[in-house]
Symmetry: C2
Subunit: 229 residues, 2 copies
Amino acid sequence: MKALFFDVFGTMVDWRGGVARESRAILAPLGFSLDWIAFSEAWRAQYQPAMEEIRAGRSSYVRLDVVHRRMLDTIRPQFGLEALDERTLAELVLAWHRLDAWPDVKGGFARLRKRYLVAPVSNGNIALMVGIARHNDLRWDAILGSEIAQDFKPKPRVYLASAEALGLAPSDCTLVAAHSSDLAAAAAAGLGTAHVARPDESPRGENAPTVPVDVAATDFEDLADKLGA
Amino acid sequence: MKALFFDVFGTMVDWRGGVARESRAILAPLGFSLDWIAFSEAWRAQYQPAMEEIRAGRSSYVRLDVVHRRMLDTIRPQFGLEALDERTLAELVLAWHRLDAWPDVKGGFARLRKRYLVAPVSNGNIALMVGIARHNDLRWDAILGSEIAQDFKPKPRVYLASAEALGLAPSDCTLVAAHSSDLAAAAAAGLGTAHVARPDESPRGENAPTVPVDVAATDFEDLADKLGA
């Protein structure tokens, strides 16, 4: 194994708490008082339906920033946000660029990158991954994943294009993720798999993988231990 | 200005000395005794003709690693290297992944990345840029340039796709390069321009820009001074 690919949302960063915090910082000064966690969860709940439009070919590839905006437009009426101006909407989309890493990520990740090439293989676009990396001082070798593949996980092309970009065989690469569906798709594409438990990600957070994986870790420090880093 | 884009070969790394050193390390144990600098210069001299085949559309886009192999095949007869096996040829192509940065790069670059987003906008492919970054401990925000644009500089698409990947306007980005032709193309695409003198790059190394530029620096430390980093 030469490279580790990382899912980001949920696996490395806390989208639920981060989107709630950032949305509140933008909207509370404008007089809005929402259940911010419910708003964050509702926004994220539009993710799979929005992805499916593109993966099924009914909509062409657009960056996740654009998808996040479409998802936001879908839920605005539920939260009384119909009247927001364009600038505020654009600011809200950038909330996703400022999500905090889970506390165990920093130390474990630093150990892992000494031994392996490391790259996000996320559905997030390059600018979004750069924002999260700067926000959390994460050092990537390259930003791979959705934007270089021009498609979204769990399509095999996303995992395969990421391995090709590093000049590696799929079997030289292992996906690290907190979601069994992502790991099952990576395994089907020929990659190794490492599950990280994130029971606090959301009410559907996984304590353990529901599919066979090569490694199952409790957090990033445990993952570094188990991968000999 | 929010992002700095960097040309790499010649501007940041010494391809002439590096390819000579690495080629010697591979070929001398096999009994070859070449003028290693002449070999390096001859290999690089095939660069523009090989690029032109692709830029003109006579050959489809392939990664620079593949182009480097084609260029090597062109010059092998000149140096008596017709009989090399596939493994040795593949090793020679990887010589380009292990080039040393010029001595002034490390300090100036570290200062610049504190203030700006930084990305290579090179004709080198992602794996090649990752190799050079690991070899020299360079910390990029993302690997942009040729592979994400699926074309080669000085085509405008390469500069524009790199700005778009960061969600920035071309005018928010400045290209740093030691070659006036590269800077002229970047300026035509709407980017800012910064020249770094590299008179020792090759017999054609530039002491000063031959086109109008926004900034002209003697080296990376001087560039950091001039960009307020």
